[in-house]
């Protein structure tokens, strides 16, 4: 385990409030998703269809992106192409300067986090108003998102209350969720409506209409994107779907898998800027299509990961995530999907712990609405890490020694017989301390090995 990962894990495990916060949200999501899936007629068939839609798009990405560009352009939007995070940020900053923007209202976007947009805006001296309630919370706290749909999942409502009281100009007096939301509304509304530019991500890009879809539960996307004179969208190229019926099918999967709701509170399709006769809307709409390693992922065996619709079900159901929370993963995306994506985005050498810190129990794959074979993809990273010699020498030599014997049954028997013989010196029953197995016995007892192996006893005639 790398020191950096170990430190983050230790900090997470030592934080009792984190555990309470993660359990409240993920536990509720798990229960609600189960009810929603059980109530859905043939959810398994719907998963298969969702996976097929995404596979088709990913296999024909170029054609659909061109169709999207043509239709978005026809609707009056301007489409930009960015192959790296840096290029994407540069395009957004140039547009902000062109709009003479002093402040931007941002509607929560993980792609924005991935490309480092909050940092880039700060560097450029542009005020950033996070309008999603949870993003607002972590902006006040100076933190990064710990979950892809609940960025402030790591905080309890009690912590949020204290934060609001310290930061809001007219904070809540009553300790209720409604009063706290009202406090945030008072704090955010004027700043939001006064922003020069609205920036969002996209949940879907609809190729045959050129529309950009956002889903929120707070209506903050609509409020931050419609009033300003410019709307900038940053979206990963894999967000494309062929047509509205495809978008609608994936929406049904997304909201059920994420929160158990049949649909999010606000689902909006933005097609071009304000048209003549429209009562409102931005004068300009710009859509930045971001690759940032996605075509390389498609080429290098991770095409299935591009099915991901960012619902968060994999992390909500992950035993490791439920213990360590999102920040311990160290990348933009946490949980099983993050353990696949982060090595692709940040490099395997810096993140090789992520695909290894997984029990391969398969629950994430079982709940994934687009059937991503996450354990298989995590194994793929483990193989690459092994091939590239990134695993520690102690692990490599230990495995090599074991494998040498495992290939030679007679020597294996002799070696294990000797090992069992010396293990007998430690006594029978439960062992609470063991040489070479401190990782096990620090936390649990180990049953003593058998006095004689099964194979030896069988050879000597024991049958029952």
């Amino acid at each position: 385990m790398t020191a950096a990962f170990a430190a983050r894990v230790d900090a997470a495990l030592a934080d009792p409030v984190l555990k309470i916060a993660v359990e409240r949200t993920a536990g509720t999501a798990e229960a609600k998703r189960t009810l929603a899936v059980d109530a859905f007629p043939d959810f398994e068939a719907a998963r298969t269809r969702a996976a097929a839609i995404k596979d088709h798009v990913v296999a024909n990405l170029g054609a659909y992106l061109e169709r999207f560009e043509a239709n978005a352009t026809a609707a009056g939007a301007t489409v930009h192409w960015a192959s790296t995070a840096q290029e994407a940020c540069d395009i957004v900053l140039a547009l902000c300067r062109q709009a003479k923007a002093k402040s931007v209202a941002r509607s929560k976007s993980m792609l924005g986090e991935e490309i480092g947009l909050p940092h880039a805006l700060a560097e450029a001296g542009i005020e950033r108003i996070e309008t999603d309630l949870a993003e607002h919370i972590i902006q006040l706290a100076g933190e990064r998102p710990s979950h892809i749909i609940w960025p402030a999942m790591h905080k309890t409502r009690e912590q949020v209350s204290a934060l609001f009281k310290a930061s809001h100009h007219a904070p809540h007096e009553e300790e209720t969720i409604a009063a706290m939301a009202e406090s945030a509304r008072r704090h955010l509304r004027d700043a939001m409506l006064g922003a020069d530019v609205g920036i969002s991500g996209a949940n879907f890009l609809v190729a045959d209409t050129g529309a950009v879809c956002t889903v929120t539960n707070e209506g903050n996307a609509e409020l931050s994107l419609v009033p300003p004179r410019m709307h900038i969208v940053t979206a990963g190229i894999e967000k494309i779907v062929p047509s509205m019926p495809h978008a609608v099918h994936l929406l049904r999967m997304l909201s059920r898998s994420a929160t158990g709701a049949p649909l999010s509170q606000y689902t909006t399709f933005y097609t071009g800027p304000r048209r003549p006769g429209d009562r409102d809307g931005p004068a300009e709409m710009h859509i930045v299509l971001v690759d940032n390693g996605r075509t390389r992922m498609r080429r290098e065996g991770l095409a299935e990961m591009l099915r991901c619709i960012r619902c968060g079900a994999c992390m909500n159901h992950c035993v490791v995530f439920r213990q360590i929370g999102g920040h311990a993963y160290g990348g933009t995306y946490p949980g099983p999907m993050g353990a696949v994506l982060t090595p692709a985005i940040d490099g395997l050498a810096a993140s090789r712990d992520l695909p290894n810190a997984c029990t391969l129990n398969g629950k994430c794959q079982e709940v994934c609405p687009v059937r991503i074979p996450l354990p298989t993809l995590l194994r793929g990273w483990r193989e690459k890490s092994w091939r590239e010699g990134l695993e520690p020498a102690s692990v490599r030599s230990g495995l090599a020694l074991w494998a040498w014997f495992a290939r030679r049954p007679r020597l294996y028997r002799a070696a294990t017989a000797t090992a069992l013989k010396s293990a007998r010196l430690m006594g029978g029953g439960w062992l609470s301390r063991l040489p070479l197995a401190g990782g096990w016995t620090r936390h649990r007892d180990m049953p003593a090995p058998a006095p004689k192996s099964f194979m030896d006893q069988y050879r000597q005639g024991r049958r029952r």
């Binding site: 385990m1 894990v9 230790d10 495990l13 035993v319 213990q323 360590i324 290894n356 810190a357 997984c358 029990t359 391969l360 129990n361 398969g362 629950k363 794959q365 079982e366 194994r379 990273w381 483990r382 193989e383 690459k384 092994w386 091939r387 695993e391 692990v395 495995l399 090599a400 494998a403 014997f405 495992a406 290939r407 049954p409 294996y412 294990t416 090992a419 069992l420 029978g428 029953g429 439960w430 609470s432 990782g439 096990w440 620090r442 936390h443 649990r444 007892d445 180990m446 049953p447 003593a448 090995p449 058998a450 004689k452 192996s453 099964f454 194979m455 006893q457 069988y458 024991r462 049958r463």
Partner: protein
Amino acid sequence: MPAPDRPRVALFVTCLVDLMRPSIGFASIAALEDAGCEVIVPEAQTCCGQPALNSGDRSTAADIARRTIAALEGHDAVVVPSGSCAATIRVHYPEILEDDPAWFPRAQALAAKTWEVMAYLDEVRGWRPTNVDLPATATYHDSCSGLRELGIKHQPRRLLAAVGGLGLTPLAGAETCCGFGGTFCVKYPAISNAIVGEKAAAIDATGAQLLLAGDLGCLMNMAGKLHRDGSPVRAFHAVEILAGMGDGPAIGETA
């Protein structure tokens, strides 16, 4: 091809059962013989190769897979007292040998006749334990590989229902991973401990006397945590109970 009346079944013991708890192997033999099988224990077996497979050492895993295939393939069926080792042979051998034209068909053929022991007893042999009594309350944990890679859920429960006097208490989160994960538990011991701590608490909360499961790795993890925490719950592999060995020492107990 119809199943022969008395199939020749190879027992793949698994390395953990071989070294840690041979009684699971003998219980498997007893149950399989009672179910009308001739049981053979091939000499050339060692380990299915999971440690290499899960560490990313694919070429070593493939090498061990070839040797294991050669050792096991000459039988009507291969039976394994572990969902995860059975899944390695059934699901992962064909994957890791897919680019090896000589071995891929042999991997597929072996995969098609490899079974977790309780799935084989229930689904293939239609067997039920007879005259096995154990007046006790037990709870059952579904080990992940068996559950999700092989569909093992109802088979052990159907078999255990035929044990006289045994009551099964449902375990909250029975399908939640126990945190063992093979090499995971020694590579990331603190995370593993946090996971198994919750599992042990859930097991304790059932009030059952016994914890049963189908995989020794998971059982050692859960039983080791229960014992460290001072819980009175005793742990057995379910096939030991089915073979009438529930009156013997539980995992970690001396005979």
